[in-house]
Symmetry: C2
Subunit: 588 residues, 2 copies
């Protein structure tokens, strides 16, 4: 048979009277008065193909054998449909192809789920038959959207003189950060490569090499327990530059994202993106990645409640903590007492001991704690800006617990009360991060971002005296409540990098053992440099309006890090293990 002349979805007026050859999948076949109609599907859409035994008996006979998802090729003339057969919902709905030839290229068993019946509810089945799941037009659209994102990013960076450099996947294991995936070496028995959690050090070394502007769309690996939006491997838009300020790097990032939003979604995003500091973000949203598509900000009530005789509030304040509230607008008649109990359980997950709340009614504040607050009722209502029909919800605890619980509650209520304009894409920079976090369990400091982040110059003296007070030249970019990426200025002087390792609890020897090559490199003309990494999966997910990154990954793992299709990871032969000088210590 001839070459394909068109995609099914591209049949248009111009083809009328033309003979076309199409190749694709049988979407539907129906027999109507002895004439067979096949809806044929390919990547670009559908077309209706007609087999009239009076036109071609042989073609009709083959068409009669076709079943759903058979792969066929057909040749025929494009004609207008009868007026009453026009399907205005279908792009090619005015036309049909009067087939004179057909070949069956492959058959199909009955598929385990309909290709066009919406998303199957059993995700494990979707992953097992991923090639069929990806055949669904929604999934194909998601994968094409993802490609449009990477294409736009690449073209932008190519046009701005960034050099795409491939960095190694077989790397060195480092004890910082998340758990590494290891790759045993055969030639060096007992030694292991590690798959990169990010090419952080490598891209810094490219700056030492004078590459000036680097990018890579690169796979990264973390062997962590999986949550809804995590995968063992994920993709990063990785950028590093020399001699640029954070503001300049941010400006490039904004231009790039503006272009992505324009090309992929047709949406104009104004620049510069708003910025707030980490501290302000925690104070106002209880969160370092605030969803700014709705209000319901946290309001500090220390002043208002400082004299009331409500023990919960007083204890929190006296212990150096906070009392804060959010106002759920118009929620009073939507949340029963039982609903409020559920919200109390919910904030319990974030460390809160309970959820105090008040409904604003025409005759005043009502609720379990109303009796304690009668004196300040007017002040309180004024302070939080509440109106009749609202619910005021309180947290009184350590600052971290107040932020975590009210921040989570705010996000939940934002969704439940449908306060979020889903058409909005709110980009936001969260700047001035703390350099370190204190790990209560390990009793040591860990990096808030990574150990190569530059402390604010003015805070350098605090590295010795009060590391927890040191801020970093670090900034995150947030989109609609998701952390999209993180950037920073990196350390480019050996003495600062050594100090950083010291604060993180490395001995001098351990620092040299693990990072000696970087420390050495810092002594050979390492330029000031900084960069950013953006999560491609998450960006694609948000633009595809999906809620799980698995929807924008062709072959994801399930939440036990298994690929249900090929059943990876699998057993390997004793010979393979022997060559790698390894024994498995468990049976199964």
């Amino acid at each position: 048979m001839a070459k394909r002349t068109k995609y099914c979805g591209e049949i248009s007026k111009e083809d009328l009277g033309q003979v076309v050859t199409l190749k694709g999948w049988v979407r539907k076949r129906r027999d109507h008065g002895g004439v067979i109609f096949i809806d044929l599907r390919d990547r670009e859409g559908f077309a209706q193909v007609v087999f009239n035994p009076e036109k071609s008996r042989s073609a009709w006979e083959i068409a009669d054998k076709c079943r759903t998802e058979y792969v066929i090729e057909i040749t025929g003339e494009v004609i207008n449909r009868d007026p009453e057969a026009i399907n205005p919902k279908m792009k090619t709905g005015e036309f049909e192809i009067m087939a004179t030839e057909i070949n069956i290229l492959n058959s199909s068993k009955t598929v385990p789920f309909g290709i066009e019946d919406g998303t199957p509810s059993n995700e494990e089945l979707r992953l097992k038959y991923r090639y069929l799941d990806l055949r669904r037009p929604e999934m194909l659209a998601n994968m094409r959207l993802r490609h449009d994102v990477t294409k736009t990013v690449r073209h932008f960076l190519d046009d701005h003189d960034f050099i795409d450099v491939e960095t190694p996947y077989l790397n060195k294991s480092t004890p910082e950060g998340a758990r590494d995936y290891l790759v045993p070496s055969r030639i060096q028995g007992g030694h292991f490569y590690a798959l990169p959690q990010s090419p952080q050090i490598t891209k810094q070394l490219l700056m030492a090499a004078g590459f000036d502007r680097y990018y890579q769309i690169v796979r990264c690996f973390r062997d962590e327990d999986l949550r809804g939006d995590r995968q063992p491997e994920f993709t990063q838009i990785d950028i590093e530059t020399s001699f640029l300020s954070p503001a300049e790097i941010q400006a490039y990032t904004e231009k790039m994202l503006v272009k992505v939003m324009k090309e992929v979604k047709g949406i104009e995003i104004p620049t510069p993106f708003p910025q707030i500091t980490y501290d302000e973000s925690m104070a106002r949203f209880g969160n370092d990645k605030p969803d700014t598509r709705f209000g319901m900000e946290l309001i500090d009530l220390a002043d208002v409640v400082k004299d009331v005789e409500f023990k919960v509030f007083q204890m929190a304040l006296q212990a150096g903590g906070q009392v804060k509230a959010i106002v759920a607008k118009g929620a009073a008649d939507k949340y029963s007492r039982k609903d409020m109990d559920n919200l109390g359980t919910f904030v319990g997950q974030y460390g809160a001991k309970g959820l105090a709340w008040l409904k604003v009614e025409t005759d005043g504040l009502k609720g379990p704690i109303a009796k304690f607050l009668t004196e300040i009722e007017a002040d309180l209502v004024a302070k939080v800006g509440a109106e009749v029909g609202d619910i005021i919800m309180f947290a009184a605890d350590k600052a971290e617990v107040v932020a975590a619980s009210l921040g989570a509650l705010r996000n939940r209520l934002g969704k439940e009360l449908q306060l979020i304009d889903e058409s909005k894409y709110n980009f936001l920079w969260v700047v001035d991060w703390p350099l370190l976090e204190y790990d209560e369990e390990a009793k040591r400091y860990t990096s808030a971002h990574h150990p190569f982040t530059m402390p604010k110059e003015s805070d350098l003296p605090l590295m010795d005296t009060a590391p927890e007070k040191v801020y970093a030249e670090a900034y995150d970019i947030v989109l609609n409540g998701y952390e999209l990426g993180g950037g920073s200025t990196r350390i480019h002087k050996r003495e600062i990098q050594e100090k950083m390792f010291e604060v993180l609890g490395f001995t001098k020897e351990a620092a040299v053992e693990q990072f000696g090559f970087l420390l050495d490199a810092l002594e050979y003309g390492f330029p000031p440099h900084g960069g950013i990494a953006l999560g491609l999966d998450r960006l694609a997910m948000l633009l595809a309006e999906e809620e799980n990154i698995r929807e924008v990954i062709a072959f994801p793992k399930n939440n036990r890090a298994i690929d249900p299709m090929n059943e990876a990871p699998g057993k390997v032969s004793p010979a393979q293990l022997f060559e790698l000088s390894l024994n498995v210590t468990i049976e199964d």
Copy 2:
């Protein structure tokens, strides 16, 4: 200091009289009559910066402290050099910058090798200080060339409706092909992922999903012993299509490569690329990846020598083997008897028992075997087209040995006799490959390409009776004697794939255990499909006119698969092994 206004290498006439800010590395510093001259280098080139103490004493003082490879930023006015100071070899050689400001951004110890003194001879040192090696302008140029190649490839494929899809790196280990790199699973103790040797099955499944045209520039992994042009990880331009014929796929590949050659090298390559069959290539060049930039083809002498009483020839012919020769034009006075002995040792590596040869002199053929061939001298000279001053070299053995030894000899002599026009880029398709090879050691058939390659339709009946005679719908693309890539039509029917596994020695159970998901997929409307994979490292190497792929890889491994910079692979902690349910079985 202000933002950089220009790259050093971009200073031009237009900047005269302008104040510029440059940032870069001190290439050279010299003091000339109390004035300091610094050659400043960045990614784009060099500029001369002048520090005159009469212009700015403070700048001069700082410049005086600068040493080679210090990182500095300077500001000053662009002026014309004195006529006698103009350097016509330097792009910016007519200009200099009269500096009024300078900051030292970082210092540098004395570098272990000069950044501009040519390629250091100690490659291990280059790899240990790769960030300095990459600072050398030649290496930066190689990495940029590589990026230009990928950029051109991507833009071409983007423009031709190929969808870039990322496939998993954490995959399933399969027993076919080369040795896998394994990745132990923590969650499924005792189970392993494998890093992909190529995303072969995955991209085929994307065809099952109806993606129609896929591409990816993707890392692949093979745990093999390393040769000069191998690395544990390498990069593939990976392409798969549905419904296209080999000729159509080849035409796309040609258009893509023509564009690469045009954009990257400014060279026009005519299309279509020449094609020869595998059998013809072996017969004429002794090689399945012939370098066609020079002649010296193998000439079959069976007819000419069939009656001579030279035992070596007779035995070879009687055993069903061959007698062939190549003619080294004008080599007679270049190769001594001792040189010929060395060539004899050389062909010994390819299984030849020795090298028979004759020099063509004015008074006839001379050499150790001349006396056996006196009768046929005229016929022989005519057949091989030899002239006075040439050497005729013979091989008489099994066809494989004749091909291997004369093929290797031809390549060696082509280089030694400088027969190769290095400015040429000879692309060539080698088509009609055998489907299988017979592995003498394992006593079984193995795939010549991979087990998913479609046999020629007409040869299908031979799969049961004479598998070694089956040809495949497979084609390699060759450039200047290097295999650049391989393509094929893939099997899209379950019964053929099952037959293929059977021929390869799989039991039914083993085939299902390893490849059941593919076999299943073949029953759900799998379209006819095929594709190609091209080695990016090799392509970039050839275009960069390098002889080793390490020269076009930013951070390669050495030939023991070690990265001398960070010393990967390394030891890991007992805790890491415990979590992975592994023991190391050797000490070190």
